[in-house]
Symmetry: D2
Subunit: 187 residues, 4 copies
């Protein structure tokens, strides 16, 4: 087996007490031995995309975020669903880096997780995110998919994810994602 | 017939020379006699949505934008497609106003137009926008749909839209949209 | 108030013990006083669509099904999700009637319900069905949406739907759908 | 390099003069040297899916179709769009084989092409088909995507595809798809 894989998480919510951010922080506990998981740099400071601004140069934050995606062996989006779609802020981050000459999602192994308060768990959003990744030519991982519905019942007061079934699925996704990265990424 | 309808356009691009902004500006030329069309206030200054910031109060820009949607008899989105989806900035604007206690898209008649450089003309994005409008419980107008593909061939150097077939479709959409607003909006 | 509304159900599964068929049969119990609900004729005998066959004439079953949709004040699809989409048989039924010169979904008020074994309850399918209805220019009802997930836990051995929360949502959907039909259908 | 790849086409239309069937027949002309392309067995005789029928055994046609997919190194769907979605007949074929214990799309490299009379060229349908392939855990190829819009202007009276730009894109897709199959299929 090759080196330990470097996987980064991109979180779709900026809220301090975000369930998705909390979930992303805890992923290392459930990662297989061959995978390390860390956070991508924040996109919180990205301006709203405007092609006229881009013409003056990319913000340093955008370059740093894209650079982290470039260097990663794989990316895991962990994000809520807003209005049945991708949070505008997260989509704005994707829009910015997509304009780089060497856009970083090309051929990148990508997995998706979502936590929401409702029962559907973010499914509507995940297929929109997959569609964006078609254009960006990522290798988007299929199943198992992770939909954490009724999130408020599955995290404790310290924002620890306590759902046994969910932990099992996530552990399984990360294990299968490792094999996927090694196959499609040639690692 | 009731009063002249007040329809506003929401543009999905911030670029000064945006084809979509140009198209939106020209819509009054093709509107039926019973409809006036003007621009919604800009969402360019909205911060990236963060629920912690919302807890401190809604920005004045968000309130002004929502207020214009509330007062409108109908809304026309005129927007590009970014990465096969809704531009992040536009989605961020929708996300902000969706959190208002009295979110303004409820029961609002909504039509969509898109202009893109590619041949598909924004179709991928339009169904994502429709999906957001399901959650927000708008009345989203169906057909004729407006997809302006290969936009660079259809606007002149002054950004005047010159495509005869496109103008015909847009004129038709606006006319049918008027009837739709009067029916579903009870105007 | 006008006459009692004539609403028909179109079921997406042919299985005798289908949860969706069972749910459709029970809808009259939860309908408002102003709405009667009955079954559309079956599409089980439709051939697989082939334009060459259509050129020889529409099957009588297709005409009967379309006629029932034409005469209805509203339609409720009650359907499972197959492979994250519309069951092929149901889509085939829609495809057939869509080719009629006077296709019956035009301006028709349409609502959607789905029951599935998984937790997501058919959401992925519902947005595909909505997209078909955009082309067919139906008035597709928005919210409340009905997703019956984990269906095997919510029906008893006689296929009676026993989920209190679900019954409440369905009752609410039918009540709001009545008002929707009266508004957009001018009833 | 390994052996010549065995790629099969699955056509979404049953019409004898189908543009999509015609396109599928001509693909061998534009295939790279390392790829042979032939037709999957027809799904025209599949009954409409009914789980009660499945319980009595799978039709021989379904088994033959699934077997061909199993044996193929890759699959190319070439299909029209019906009502903004997957043709019901094609979806029915997918639904049938998805119920096999060893469903054949698992880990299968899949590409998509579509030809339609309208300008959008089938894009709406392709993302629905991609979503089905997520569930079936195929490796769905991303770009270049093939959308043949305004098909009636691009085929001659013998149904030969004559669009230079389209041929170039298809040739490119097939070449890149070969590399994709070799990578994800380990060929």
């Amino acid at each position: 087996m090759a080196d330990k894989l470097n996987v980064i998480t991109i979180v779709g919510s900026l809220r301090a007490a975000s369930y998705n951010a909390a979930l992303a922080r805890q992923l290392p506990k459930w990662a297989p031995a061959g995978m390390s998981i860390s956070s991508a740099p924040s996109w919180a400071g990205f301006p709203i995309y405007n092609a006229d601004d881009q013409a003056k140069g990319f913000p340093a934050d955008v370059e740093a975020f894209a650079d982290a995606v470039h260097k990663a062996d794989g990316v895991i989006f962990v994000t809520p669903e807003y209005n049945y779609g991708i949070p505008g802020g997260l989509k704005n981050a994707i829009d910015w880096v997509s304009r780089l000459k060497d856009q970083p999602f090309k051929d990148k192994p990508v997995a998706i997780q979502s936590a929401t308060g409702g029962p559907v768990g973010g499914a509507r959003m995940q297929y929109h995110l997959r569609q964006a990744m078609v254009f960006l030519n990522a290798f988007t991982f299929n199943t198992p998919e992770i939909f954490v519905g009724l999130a408020h019942t599955k995290f404790d007061e310290k924002l620890e994810f306590k759902d046994e079934a969910g932990i099992k699925f996530i552990t399984q996704q990360l294990a299968v994602f490792e094999g996927f990265i090694r196959k499609v990424g040639g690692k």
